[in-house]
Symmetry: C2
Subunit: 340 residues, 2 copies
C-alpha cells in the first residue's frame, strides 16, 4: 500500500509500505476514506522532535473496516468507523473515568502511520466507534475531524470547564483552537474571544462562534482579554499551541477560580509555581481522550448540528501529502485533508 | 498592646505595639482570644523569605469584636468571630465564585500582625463569621484552626476533588496536611494515605482518618502510593509543603484523570510542562479561600463533629511566642497556639 514516511525534517515521501494485517485477536484493519496532517506532525517535520529513522506518519483516521481479529465483538467488517490516536480498551478504571488516552493498555495508533491506505487499529472494540450507516462523501471530512482535532478542541473546552453563559478565550488559531471555539459555542459559552492575527482564521473562528477577536499576543493579548472582561479575565481558556508563551498567555488570561484546558503538546514549558499558586487558575490538559466524546461528536456531525470539517482548507490526494505538510508549515493552510 | 514582631530570621520579639483602631468605615477591631504560629511564618523565620524591616507577624485569629466602623452592618461588638488571612468583600464576582482570597478588594489581614492582643480587620462584613454564641474555652482552639489551617486543608481536599469512596494521598504532615486528612474523611474518602515519617504525626493522622501511612519520600513515596492503588495512583492528592520535591511527589502520586489540590506556598517550584501534559493530572491550588468554607466549618466545630484544634500540641502565652517558633522550626511541635 501507499503510505507517508518522514525521512528527515522537511523530507516527506509517499512510498510503498507493507500492508497492515490483523496481528492480535483484538485488532481491526481499516481501509481509510480520508486522513490528514496534524499540527503535531509539524514538530517532527520542523526538526523540533528528532527524526532518527524513517517514520510512518499520521494518527487521524476514518474509514471502513476490512478485517477483524477473532476476539473483536462489536466492530464488524463493512462498518464505517472513527477512532482516536491512542487505542484503548475502554474498560479499565482509567478509561471508565473518561481518560482513555491514559488507558492502562493503550497503544499509539500513530505508530502504524495513519497517512496511508490501510491501518491496523489495536483494541478495536474499545477504540473504534461506528457511524449509523455508510456516510455520504460530504460528511467524511467532519467525521475525520472528530478523530482528533475536534475531539481535542472539545476536550480542551471541557477541561477548561466551559459552561453555559461563560466567557471563553482561545489561545491558538490552528484547527484545534478553531474547533475549541466551536466546542465552546456548543457547550453554551456566551462570549468567545478568539486570539488570532490571520484574517482567514479570524473569519472561520467567527463562523464557528467567536464573538470577539484579539490580535495581540503575550502580555498585549492578556491585557486585551482583561479589558474585555472587566479586568478579571475569562472564566475558561483553551490553550492550543504548547509553548511557554502560549501557556503563560492562557494562564494570565484566566480569572481567579477559572480554568485552563491545555492541549497544545507542551514543548520546553516550565510553569512557575509561585505565579500559578497565586493565580488560582485550575489546569487540566494532555492528550485528549477523544474516545470519551466520539459517540456524541459523531451524533452531532451526523445530525448536521456541527460542521467541523470546514477546518480542512486544503484537500489533496494521499500521494501529494508533501504539499500538505509544506502548506501547513508555511501557514498557508489551516489543515490538509488527504483523500485515499 | 503586646504583639509579635520578627526583627530578623530567628529573632522573634514580643513587644509593645500601637493599639489598632478603626480606620475605614468597613473595619472592625477584635480582641483576640487566641492566635497561632503558621508553617508559612517559618519561611521568614528561617530567612527563606527576606526580612528587611521589623515585621508584625501572624494571620490566624479568632476573638471578640470590640468596635466596628460606621458602615459595618452584620458584625456587632461583643460577637465572637473567626476570619481568614485575606479580608474580602464577599460580594465581587470572584468572591461569589468562591475565591475570596482573590477578591478584587482583598486586603492581607496579616499585615496588621494577628499574633497580638488586638487586630484590625478590614471589610469586616465580608470577612468575619460569627459563632452562634460565645464559645466555651475548649472550642476556641478548633475555631482558631478554622481561620486558616483547617480551611486550607479543606480547600486542598475540595481542590483535589475528594469524593465519597475516593482514595486520597496527603503529602506533608504539618497541621495543614493533617487537617487535609480530616477534610478528606469528612468529604467521604474511603482510603486516606498519609505520607509521614514522624510517629506523633502519624498517630494524629490516623486519628483524623488516615487508613494507611507511607514513610517514603520522593520516588520511594510515589512507588508506595502506586503499590497501594493497583499501580494507578490516588484519585486525589493534597500537597501541603510547597517545594519542588513535594509538588512532583504529589503529581506523580495521582492517577490519570485525578487531581492535586496544592496549598503549600510554592517556593522555587517549576512544573515541567511535558510531564504535566502527559500526566492527565488536574491542578488547583493557591491561598485557600477559607471564607467560602467558614460557615460550614464553624458549624462542624460547634456541633462537635470535628476537633481540628488537636493540631495544637503546644500552648503558650503570647509573650512566649518565640518558644513556639523555635519548637515548630525544630519540628518538636506541629503547631503552637498562643493564648492572649
Amino acid at each position: 500500500m501507499l503510505g507517508v514516511v518522514l525521512h528527515a525534517p522537511g523530507d516527506v515521501r509517499v512510498e510503498q509500505r507493507e500492508d497492515p494485517r490483523v496481528l492480535a485477536p483484538t485488532d481491526a484493519v481499516i481501509r481509510l476514506a480520508a486522513t490528514c496532517v496534524c499540527g503535531s506532525d509539524l514538530w517532527s517535520y520542523r526538526g523540533v522532535n528528532d527524526v532518527t529513522s524513517p517514520t510512518p506518519m499520521g494518527h487521524e483516521y476514518a474509514g471502513v473496516v476490512e478485517e477483524v481479529g477473532d476476539e473483536v465483538r462489536d466492530v464488524k467488517p463493512g462498518q464505517f468507523v472513527v477512532g482516536s490516536f491512542f487505542a484503548s480498551d475502554n474498560t479499565c478504571e482509567i478509561c471508565r473515568s473518561g481518560f482513555q488516552t491514559s488507558c492502562v493498555n493503550r497503544v499509539p495508533v500513530g505508530a502504524g502511520g495513519a497517512q496511508a491506505q490501510y491501518l491496523r487499529v489495536p483494541l478495536a472494540d474499545g477504540t473504534l466507534v461506528a457511524t449509523p450507516e455508510m456516510p455520504s462523501d460530504d460528511l467524511v471530512p467532519s467525521l475525520l475531524a472528530a478523530s482528533d482535532v475536534l475531539g481535542t478542541g472539545w476536550f480542551a473546552a471541557v477541561a477548561a470547564e466551559v459552561r453555559p453563559g461563560a466567557t471563553v478565550a482561545v489561545v491558538g488559531d490552528g484547527a484545534v483552537g478553531l474547533l475549541g471555539v466551536l466546542a465552546a459555542r456548543e457547550l453554551g459559552a456566551e462570549r468567545i474571544i478568539a486570539m488570532s492575527r490571520h484574517e482567514s482564521r479570524q473569519k472561520l473562528a467567527t463562523e464557528f462562534g467567536a464573538t470577539d477577536i484579539v490580535t495581540g499576543r503575550g502580555d498585549e493579548g492578556v491585557a486585551a482579554v482583561k479589558e474585555l472582561t472587566g479586568g478579571l479575565g475569562a472564566h475558561s481558556v483553551i490553550e492550543a499551541v504548547g509553548t511557554q508563551e502560549s501557556m503563560m498567555q492562557a494562564i494570565r488570561s484566566t480569572r481567579a477560580g477559572g480554568a485552563v484546558g491545555y492541549v497544545g503538546v507542551a514543548h520546553d514549558v516550565a510553569l512557575p509555581g509561585e505565579e500559578l499558586f497565586y493565580s488560582h487558575v485550575k489546569l487540566l490538559g494532555g492528550p485528549a481522550p477523544v474516545r470519551r466524546f466520539l459517540p456524541d461528536l459523531i451524533d452531532r456531525v451526523w445530525s448536521g448540528a456541527i460542521d467541523p470539517g470546514r477546518v480542512f482548507d486544503l484537500t489533496l490526494p494521499l500521494d501529494r501529502a508533501a504539499e500538505g505538510y509544506r502548506a501547513m508549515d508555511e501557514r498557508r493552510a489551516i489543515k490538509a485533508l488527504l483523500t485515499v
